[in-house]
Amino acid sequence: MTDQRSQAEIVRQSLKRRYRKERRFRAYGVLAIAIALGALLTLFTDIIGKGYTGFMKTTITMDVQLDGEMMYLDDPTDERQIKMADFVEPLIQALIKEIPGATEEQRNQVRELINPYASVALRDALKANPEWLGTTQTMTFLSHTDVDVYVKHAGDAAYSIKLNDQQKAWVDELQERGVIETSFNDVFFSGGDSRDPSKAGILGAIVGSLLTMFVTLILSFPIGVAAAIYLEEFAPQNKFTDFIEVNINNLAAVPSIIFGLLGLAVFINLFGMPRSVPVVGGLVLTLMTLPTIIISSRAAIKSVPPSIREAAEGIGASKMQVVLHHVLPLAMPGMLTGSIIGMAQALGETAPLLLIGMVAFIVDVPDGFFDSATVLPVQVFLWAGSPELAFIERASAAIMVLLTFLISMNALAIWMRKRLERRW
């Protein structure tokens, strides 16, 4: 009796301590989740904070006097003349006129506010409208990157402002008068890479990514589904089938950079395919995503109940008809979901593409599968490595675009899973 009571006593006495331990254990769990979610939140705020200004551009709007004499140009339709003509001078003169205190002696300081590509824009405008020669036009040009940085980040210690005090005062005044303005950065979405951050865009990288993804999709989806069908429905139970399965499982866990080595050695060195083209990128990513697609497609086929197969076989369908007419359509939503997730992985992949040379500096938007191209994540990598903070800003903005693509792809996959997948 006394023994039992004392045991109960011991238990009761220890309860407080045990409950405390219980609470502490729970708190550890909450803390772990808080750390993980905190990291996610920090990552997002950091990137958005660094990059949202990348979606803005700084422009200068001024009245440009297109004086033929000043530009050494009398016939804008003449290719030779237009090549030789001076398109910088009218811009400098126009800006000097906009700045009240500026004199001809300060022309070099004024010139440093205008983007180096503005003269190209002026030339193209005159080429398109030859009748403008001799008139005065109100036109909008990109500002110099230094002005852009100053306008956006004047108070930020991380950015070094390259303008001198005189120029800063000018820019402040021009901004007040509405000559220098910030607006939505359409250049970022309509151009390729550039050495000048203000002129750099992601259209080339997006098109490169789309071309690469297209190759990946049209190769990996049919091959992955076919392989899954074979392994689930036709493969005999033998050593060779086991070997295939072991291979697929291992390939799913092989580091992506190894696929880059494979691409370099086989596609480029053995087959002599060109470097840095979307086709080779697509082939490498296909090999990389195939295991993911095969594994998820197999799961989808497995989830189709045997009663469907038996019913079809019962009314005389052949094995292939059972699979193609009944199992495949029912498994399709699951297969598509898995493929979208695999494609999202491939879209964010960088390392193997570095090895097959998709890191080149490419200005033009690629116009085919055999044209040199880069992809969005590699563009981020290239800009992130730049010492110029204006490029870092672009890299963050490009990351936001990339994440938007990825999140919408994943959301689509989740939506499809919820909407289309049938529970048996």
Partner: protein
């Protein structure tokens, strides 16, 4: 014709073959009294003709497209005058890029030697010829094979059985591609690795403690001998992976435990997708975060405490890599914990144990092998991770265990050695493949062990 257009044309031809086959089977059946006198449905006769036309044409197209580049290169190089014949593979690739630059117009012909210009002309002619030949061959194969297939349509022919067996073989080939990929990986790294060991002794690579892969451009240059000891690379990789695991394992495991044992359905429904989001973020984004936010933060923090830290510290890369791996550890542990039978949980709770005691004393020991398997998979992922370390870890191969110093990893060196200008023959590029081989073997070993453990564990409770 471009290969892509040719591919489309082949598909069009296959569709034409389908319709012709379909029509022929019907017209053959008409005099017999309708399609019920055919052995198979007309669809299968059409499909058979399409497969006959399409498959051989696609095989020819694939082989031609794969090998034409190499063959043309060999012919062009072979056609050079004796004096310009390249001595090594490196020279050959240099010459070839020069020739193709002239051919594409990137390099004006005036800037190149006459034989190069000739070779460029020849290259252009050969390319045009090859394209023409390829188109002719593929189209004629498609038409001829399709015609043969069409011709052999008979009412007694069991087209369905034939189509199905062809399809089965196609499916088999797709599945076997996995083996081909593995073989491709092994061969591509193995060849270059062997060539690497012809230049650099075995012992130096495995036991050398110094890594600086600069090979000489001139024979009399200072430090003409590169050093290829991989020990600093492997310790660097292990250091960063260890840091990553110290972040990922506790956080991942505890959050998995909380989510599977404590959290309500609602919390689970919100937190789990958010955690999985961490897995969906591209590694280049983590690299960006590590290099530009975490690394400066760590070195500032260390400086404020009076410790010196490198701006490319192993700690920054490792910690961010750990964050990346959290969802990997947590989802694998979640599966494993959920696989422990409910009866064990109920038994422990019925004896009066608290939830945490049940977890620590009953479920965790039961799930341990599976969790270990999951952790091994996570380690293999950390070792093979590339972008984070390329962006946030350094290039200096220090042999150190101090997480605040710069270290370099195997993957960083592979990328550095293979991007940028390279000759394909130097010990430098071959070293990248040797490192790749080591990486492949290490991760393969980890994966095989981990998958075996996980599978064994699953069988235990099934």
């Amino acid at each position: 014709m471009q290969p892509a257009n040719l591919l489309l044309l082949t598909l069009v031809l296959a569709i034409v073959a389908y319709w012709l086959g379909y029509a022929r089977s019907r017209s053959l059946a008409m005099p017999l009294g309708g399609i019920r006198h055919l052995k198979s449905l007309p669809f299968y006769y059409g499909a058979r003709a399409a497969l006959w036309s399409g498959i051989p044409a696609l095989i020819v197209l694939g082989l031609w497209a794969a090998f034409q580049g190499k063959v043309i290169q060999l012919i062009v190089i072979g056609g050079l005058p004796d004096g310009m014949m390249p001595a090594s593979q490196g020279e050959a690739s240099l010459l070839l890029s020069k020739i193709s630059n002239v051919a594409s117009g990137a390099l004006p012909p005036g800037f190149a030697e006459a034989p190069i210009v000739d070779a460029a002309e020849r290259l252009k002619a050969l390319q045009a010829q090859s394209r023409l030949l390829m188109s002719a061959l593929v189209i004629s194969v498609a038409v001829l094979a399709g015609f043969l297939g069409w011709l052999r349509i008979r009412p007694r022919l069991n087209a369905r059985a034939q189509v199905e067996s062809i399809l089965k073989w196609v499916f088999f080939a797709c599945a076997a591609l996995a083996i081909l990929t593995t073989v491709g990986i092994i061969f591509s790294v193995a060849f270059e690795t062997f060539r690497f060991f012809e230049k650099v002794p075995f012992t130096e690579f495995f036991f050398g403690s110094h890594w600086s892969p600069q090979t000489a451009l001139r024979a009399d240059q200072v430090a003409s001998q590169g050093a290829f000891g991989m020990i600093p690379l492997f310790t660097g990789t292990l250091l960063i992976s260890a840091i990553a695991m110290t972040v990922a394992v506790p956080v991942g495991l505890l959050s998995a435990i909380y989510l599977s044992e404590y959290a309500g359905k609602k919390v689970r429904g919100v937190v789990k997708p958010l955690l999985e989001m961490l897995a969906g973020i591209p590694t280049v984004v983590y690299g960006f975060f590590a290099a530009l936010t975490v690394a400066p933060f760590i070195s500032d923090l260390a400086a404020s405490m009076g410790i010196e830290a490198s701006s490319q510290s192993a700690l920054a890369a490792g910690a961010v890599m750990g964050i990346m791996i959290i969802p990997f550890v947590s989802s694998l542990s979640d599966d494993v914990i959920n696989a422990v039978p409910q009866a064990m949980r109920d038994g422990s709770l019925a004896l009066g144990a608290t939830q945490s005691e049940t977890m620590k004393k009953v479920i965790f020991p039961a799930a341990l092998p599976g969790i270990m398997g999951g952790i091994l998979l996570a380690v293999s992922r950390a070792i093979g991770e590339t972008m984070i370390v390329v962006m946030a870890a350094g290039l200096a191969a220090n042999l150190t265990a101090n997480p605040l110093e710069t270290v370099t990893t195997v993957t960083v060196q592979i990328v550095t050695l293979l991007t940028g200008d390279q000759e394909f023959d130097s010990a430098k590029t071959l070293a990248a493949f040797a490192l790749g081989a080591m990486l492949f073997l290490a991760t393969l070993l980890l994966n095989v062990i981990a998958l075996k453990i996980v599978r064994k564990y699953r069988e235990q409770y099934d």
